[in-house]
């Protein structure tokens, strides 16, 4: 399997200079104890590199610190250890070079779809005509032509998240961060969203870091899946996904996909059992 090849390669040539867009270097997070209690270790220091134009999904059970990691990359949270480097520069706070899509609906309710997409452009003081062009392009890309003047409350959850993706990408970020963006959507809508986002990635080739707890989603979207273990989080597996592009949803029924799914299911199941403290009958 290619996944194994990749790991073998990495082991054979440690420190080989590759073009790394994003470097996560020993990043850990400890939350101070509440009421004098013991501090909580949310994320054991972890390290990995993200290559340019890679689509990486971070897969882990809830509470493993994967969202914390993403928030640290976004600059919304500070690591208590290590550092994050984007294009050679240390990340010290949030900025427009790292676009983010949240699990909760974060469109500004007082702005229309178009005004939401233009939010970051206005902040950059881009000329209004250019803002309109960029917004039109991205609204079209996420399939929301004709909804530019709608307010968020008039949209379905899927449409709101598509607008959020357009809003993040309109800013032309160096990396797109997504924190379980389709977690609140129903199964069918989620499938469509995955295809839409993957289609955009295939045509635009941006670097993506995508956090999820859904195994199928992690495999379908990714060129590389990082499995994070249960609290305290650390990288348990680093799996390359070499399924061909453009990927169609039917890839989910191919043997290659199933094999990856079986493997990751095993990895993640062990972690889930650890989190819940469950001892299953016969196990």
């Amino acid at each position: 399997m290619h996944a194994v090849d990749r790991r073998a390669r990495a082991a054979a040539a440690p420190g080989r200079p590759i073009v790394s867009k994003l470097v996560i270097d020993g990043v850990g997070r400890t939350f101070p104890g509440v009421n004098g209690g013991a501090p909580t270790l949310a994320l054991t220091p972890i390290s990995f590199d993200v290559a340019d134009n890679d689509f990486i999904t971070i897969l882990g059970p809830s509470g493993c610190g994967k969202s914390t990691l993403l928030r640290i990359v976004a600059g919304l949270d500070r690591p208590t250890a290590g550092r994050v480097c984007l294009d050679g520069a240390d990340v010290s706070g949030p900025g427009a070079d790292r676009g983010m899509v949240f699990q909760s609906y974060t469109l500004f309710p007082w702005l229309t779809v178009e005004e939401n997409v233009r939010f970051g452009l206005r902040e950059k003081r881009m000329p209004a005509a250019e803002q309109a062009d960029v917004a039109r392009h991205w609204i079209h890309k996420v399939g929301l032509d004709g909804f530019a003047r709608h307010y968020p409350k008039m949209l379905s959850g899927g449409m709101q998240q598509r607008t959020a993706i357009a809003r993040a990408l309109a800013n032309a970020p160096k990396i797109l961060l997504l924190d379980e963006p389709f977690g609140a959507l129903d199964h069918q809508t989620r499938g469509l969203m995955q295809e839409l986002l993957l289609g955009i990635w295939e045509s635009e080739k941006t670097t993506v870091l995508f956090v999820t707890h859904d195994i199928e989603e992690a495999i379908f979207m990714a060129s590389r899946v990082l499995v994070i273990s249960a609290r305290p989080g650390r990288i348990k597996a680093d799996v390359a996904v070499t399924l061909p592009h453009p990927r169609h949803y039917t890839v989910k029924t191919t043997p290659g996909f199933s094999a990856l799914k079986a493997r990751l299911t095993e990895e993640i199941r062990a972690e889930a059992l650890k989190v819940e403290g469950v001892v299953l009958p016969g196990g």
Binding site: A74, G75, L76, G93, P94, G95, A96, R98, G99, M100, F102, S104, T106, F108, P109, W110, L111, F119, G120, R122, E123, K124, Y151, P152, K153, A164, R167, A168, N171, L177
Partner: protein, 257 residues
């Protein structure tokens, strides 16, 4: 009746009007039927006649005008100073830490108890009336606006940060528009309180206004005029309330409802 089931528009209006009809009917029955002495409570017809007399013979329109002016003056003054301070407190925690304890304390000081002091300081002119209203509503506005701004959804603020907004952008483009509908709602509520304070201010040391008319009528035992004055205030309040609601829906089409 099914809990929380909405009623139709026509039925809603009919029910609302029905209460007023029942209220006036009960009042009429009690007074016109002779169950309550005229000395204590005028009947609706006498009240209307007295009201007509107030406007026709006593220049009551001028009293109403001056009272409305005082309410708006004190209210606008408090809002112009209170809203920005509340926003600053809601947005910036050190500002909040500096003002909040004092404002919370001052909020409980009864405005009416300041009237003797205010008369000493500002005389019995308009300044004193405006100050009573100002003290009555300013601290409430500050605190309620601060809470509204401070309770802005964190994920909206974070989304704005990841889109490149700085501190200035966060306040102007997230906190303000997010809080605006609720601030307008706060002002609508507080305007109602301003009406209470203006009458209190006019009951003591005033020579004009609806409150002054009510004190005069008390001396003459004219309950018809007193009730007419009270109803007048209620009607003006209702009109201003509708105006506020209408304006809010126009200004903030995405907001409450």
């Amino acid at each position: 009746m099914t809990p929380l089931k909405p009623v139709g528009r026509a039925r809603k209006v009919a029910l609302g009007v029905a209460f007023f009809v029942l209220f006036v009917a009960a009042w009429s029955a009690a007074t016109l039927g002779g169950f309550v002495s005229k000395t204590f409570l005028a009947d609706p017809l006498t009240m209307l006649a007295e009201g007509w007399g107030l406007f026709a013979e006593h220049g009551f329109a001028k009293d109403v005008g001056i009272t409305v002016w005082r309410v708006l003056g004190g209210f606008v003054l408090a809002a112009v100073l209170g809203v920005p301070l509340g926003i600053a407190m809601g947005a910036f925690k050190p500002v909040e830490a500096f003002f909040e304890p004092f404002v919370s304390f001052a909020r409980y000081l009864p405005a009416s108890a300041f009237i003797p002091l205010l008369i000493l300081w500002a005389g019995i002119g308009e300044a004193q009336k405006l100050l009573v209203i100002f003290i009555g509503v300013f601290f409430q506005i500050v605190l309620m606006v601060a809470v509204t701004v401070g309770s802005t959804r964190r994920d909206l603020v974070e989304a704005a940060y990841t889109l490149g907004a700085g501190a200035h952008g966060i306040v102007r483009r997230v906190l303000l528009p997010n809080a605006a509908p609720q601030i307008a709602e706060t002002l609508r509520l507080v305007l109602g309180w301003a009406w209470t304070y203006v009458i209190v201010a006019e009951l003591i040391g005033a020579s004009s206004g609806i409150g002054h008319m009510i004190t005069d009528s008390q001396a003459l035992l004219n309950t018809g005029q007193i009730i007419f004055g009270i109803i007048m205030i209620g009607l003006i309040g209702l009109v201003s309330d509708f105006a506020f609601k209408w304006a809010n829906q126009r200004l903030f089409p995405w907001g409450l409802q």
